[in-house]
């Protein structure tokens, strides 16, 4: 009860019929969030804030320049270009809204299941005389913040770049956060309803089936979404029989009667300074949101306590399915060092038996699928043959960082939480003769294996798609991916240890934490660092192809770049690992 210092007093007030504030119930979570920042070094915080701002500016400016170019659409001629370009920008905004909607919807369902039914504060709250509606509203607020904050942080600069590209005036910038609020609230409402409805049919503690069910829905939705975009056609009018069909395809909404579509139309009106029209278009959504919130509140008051009680009753106490998969995965470790073997066994067993992990695997598969799909629709065959080799080689060069981002996303979901997932049982490891260093190295090696395999497979597939013409580039691409994999995995283990939350109940929650954000940020910095170092050797490679020059200056600079690459890799691998190790050595479990 100590986390609710004011609860008893407030409860008496509630019993006296006074209006209670659900925000009070959120205060322990907010205090916990504040504590994350309070004991961090101010210089590091300032650096990270500056880095975040820089990335936001880069996203904003980079996308703005792209949209400005697409808006003019010079490839379509002077007459049609600006007209069709405007439609293209609008279409891209619609795609962005739809992506945002699905992302928030998916993460809100998972956050709702965790927040509504599995949160450790719930038994205390449910046993108190607080009205169930108030408890639900506090959980809903937490779930909304948890599921949406990261999406908002990354999407806001991108959405504002559309505003600038469409010459929006300042009131549009001020009004747009309210539109953004709606775009987050609506999927969260759907997520909240879905979680409550699911609880009526599935015991929450046997969530494996529920998550599998959800994952299939999301995967299907993503595939449907991707097919519906047909981005490759929108960028090339030659795919259409005539210009009218092309214009029609740009103007027709991706999905009719979808909230994301309405939000898009209202936002376009807002960015084009038709504030009145924007408000008229957004009004139905405001109405739906308010009605939805009221209905969800009523629904929760009627069913929430009952479904929570049901979730408490059904504990799946048998070893879950997929035992065969567990056995297959642990089998190769039979011949390894005993400590490595038992840690690998424990990690794999926990992984296979964590119901939430399946949805994560599906989501990651979807990301890899999206990547593969995007590559498959690149119009490489349309490029003049003289330049196709160079363009393909450039794409291979840029492909490394893209693979890096995919690996970083996968690392965030699976590797980053691995230290936190030791949970409160970490005392067992700390009191054992095995040193923290050995534990961390074991985890690093263990996670490096699948990450490397995935990185190499992605690299092989993309190299074959790009038909890499230069052997040096081919080898470099593999070395590049290996370097990226080592650094990204070490970052995930190190930062995961520095920001370990041993009380977190799910890997998703850990991945979505402040530490997860820092990890992604640092991964981004590393990839930028890598690109900056590799640009010169890449340039020399192209240059030498056209002008077979000889000279020592290029060789010296390539050697310097290679040495820098080695040095940076060592630093990026060692420093986070060392920091993580120091944190774990000094960590004092409960």
């Amino acid at each position: 009860m100590s986390v609710y210092p004011a609860l008893t007093r407030r409860t008496r007030l509630a019993a006296a019929g006074l209006v209670m504030n659900s925000l009070l119930l959120v205060s322990p979570a907010l205090k916990k969030f504040r504590r994350v920042f309070s004991h961090r070094n101010r210089a590091v915080l300032a650096l990270l804030s500056g880095g975040s701002a820089l990335i936001a500016i880069l996203i904003y400016y980079g996308l703005y320049r792209f949209l400005e170019y697409v808006g003019r659409a010079p490839m379509l001629g002077d007459t049609f270009g600006p007209i069709l370009g405007g439609l293209l920008v609008s279409k891209l905004l619609e795609m962005l809204f739809m992506t945002l909607f699905f992302m928030v919807l998916f993460s809100s369902v998972i956050a709702a299941l965790s927040s509504f039914f599995l949160n450790e504060e719930l038994p205390t709250l449910m046993s108190s005389p607080l009205p169930i509606g108030m408890i639900f509203r506090s959980r809903m607020l937490l779930m909304t913040i948890e599921s949406s904050w990261m999406v908002v942080v990354f999407f806001m600069p991108a959405l504002y770049s559309f505003a600038t590209a469409l010459n929006a005036s300042w009131p549009a910038y001020l009004l747009f956060p309210f539109f953004m609020l709606l775009s987050v609230l609506l999927p969260n409402l759907v997520g909240g309803f879905t979680a409550l409805a699911l609880a009526a049919f599935f015991p929450i503690r046997q969530m494996k089936k529920v998550f599998q069910f959800l994952s299939i829905i999301v995967l299907t939705a993503l595939i449907f979404f991707l097919r519906s975009l047909e981005a490759e056609k929108l960028l090339n009018p030659s795919y259409f029989k005539d210009i009218s069909q092309y214009i029609l395809s740009l103007e027709v909404p991706l999905i009719n009667y979808s909230p994301s579509s309405w939000l898009h139309q209202a936002s376009i009106a807002l960015f084009r300074n038709n504030t009145g029209e924007a408000l008229i278009k957004i009004a139905p959504l405001v109405g739906i949101t308010i009605v939805g919130l009221l209905l969800l509140n009523l629904f929760a008051r009627r069913y929430y306590r009952e479904s929570w009680q049901m979730s408490m009753e059904a504990v799946d106490n048998q070893v879950l399915g997929l035992e065969w998969l567990r056995r297959v995965l642990v089998w190769p470790f039979r011949w390894t060092d005993p400590v490595f073997r038992v840690i690998a066994n424990k990690e794999i067993t926990t992984f296979v038996r964590d119901p939430a992990i399946f949805s994560q695997i599906f989501m990651m598969t979807a990301i890899v699928f999206v990547y593969g799909y995007n590559l498959s629709i690149l119009p490489l065959k349309d490029i003049p043959s003289l330049y196709s080799g160079e363009l393909n080689d450039t794409l291979v060069f840029l492909n490394g960082p893209f693979i890096g981002f995919i690996l970083a996303s996968i690392g965030m979901r699976f590797v980053f939480p691995s230290i936190s997932m030791e949970g409160r049982a970490f005392w067992a490891v700390k009191s054992s003769p095995v040193s923290p260093r050995k534990i961390l190295i074991t985890k690093l090696i263990l996670y490096l294996l699948p990450m490397t395999v995935l990185g190499i497979i992605l690299c092989m597939v993309t190299n074959s798609v790009f038909k890499v013409s230069h052997p040096v580039l081919m080898y470099m691409s593999y070395i590049n991916v290996l370097i990226i994999t080592v650094v990204i995995t070490s970052l995930a283990i190190g930062v995961g240890a520095v920001y370990a939350d041993f009380s977190a109940d799910s890997p998703l929650k850990i991945a979505g934490s402040y530490g997860g954000f820092i990890y992604m940020l640092l991964s981004g910095f590393f990839i930028i660092n890598l690109l900056a170092i590799e640009v010169y050797p890449m340039y020399r490679l192209f240059f030498n192809r056209f002008y077979a020059t000889r000279g020592s200056s290029g060789l010296v600079l390539i050697t310097v770049s290679s040495l820098l690459l080695l040095g940076c890799t060592a630093v990026w691998t060692y420093v986070p690992f060392r920091k993580g190790l120091d944190t774990i050595e000094n960590y004092e479990p409960e």
Partner: protein, 255 residues
């Protein structure tokens, strides 16, 4: 008990959390074959000392010898001599008891055959054998405590460190645990335990230390403690309350 062979030796162990002193300067020897009880009110520093002994937290100063090994210079060797059962048995919930034993046994480099045979013996003793294939997450506090206790014995440690061993156990399990500790002592092992259940301490312990506000205020066998409290023939409960209240009264801030 062999008073010539110290199994645990605390020398000037201190622990400071900011301005708060959790342990002042603990000096204590625990001998081979001894069942040593460590008592004290809530927040006195019992669990802190045990956590330092098991290497979970670092002291602010001092030295601990576990058998011939310096805990801070040779942590791997010192820790290998200890078997630890915490007061709150947080275990890996997604494992079954046997898988948990395999994990813990692996950390202590125990042969698989021993893990299986000892694990089975312990689970049968605690009536958990039938539930060996269930996930620990479905177990009650007491059942988890029994699993933690069983895991701590797998590597055949010379010293058994137990924090509040009887919390959450039913009366039959308390009896089993007490018999288990007695058997350990009979086989030459050393047991260091903390408890609030004074009857357990009185029944089992050869010697008892009472800690209050980070300082040992009484140490000895039952007779010595009774003498210290000027309460010959009284129960440990009376002695404990007398000593801790006396100490409280002597605190300058309470005068």
């Amino acid at each position: 008990m062999n008073q010539n062979e110290s199994m645990i030796s605390f020398r000037d162990i201190r622990k400071q959390y900011g301005n708060f002193t959790a342990l002042k300067s603990i000096n204590l020897d625990i001998y081979k074959g001894e069942l040593f009880g460590f008592l004290g009110p809530n927040g006195a520093g019992k669990t802190t000392l045990i956590r330092i002994l098991t290497g979970i937290i670092q002291p602010s100063g001092g030295k601990i010898m576990v058998g011939p090994h310096d805990l801070f210079a040779q942590p791997d060797k010192a820790k290998a001599m200890l078997g630890y059962v915490p007061d709150r048995p947080y275990l890996y919930e997604k494992l079954t008891p046997l898988e948990y034993f395999e994990f813990m046994g692996g950390l202590y480099n125990v042969a698989s055959e021993r893990i299986l045979s000892k694990g089975e013996e312990m689970l049968r003793m605690f009536d958990l054998w039938e539930r060996r294939n269930e996930l620990i997450e479905s177990f009650s506090h007491g059942m988890k405590q029994k699993v933690a206790m069983s895991a701590a014995i797998l590597h055949d440690p010379d010293i058994f460190v137990v924090d509040e061993p009887t919390v959450g156990l039913d009366p039959r399990s308390v009896k089993l645990a007490k018999d288990f500790f007695k058997r350990l002592i009979a086989s030459g092992k050393t047991v260091f335990l903390t408890t609030h259940t004074l009857s357990v301490a009185q029944d089992l312990c050869n010697r008892i230390a009472i800690i209050r506000q980070g300082d040992i205020v009484a140490l000895g066998d039952m007779k010595e403690l009774q003498r210290r409290a000027s309460m010959p023939g009284n129960s440990l409960e009376d002695v404990f309350l007398k000593i801790t209240e006396e100490e409280l009264a002597q605190q300058p801030s309470n005068l």
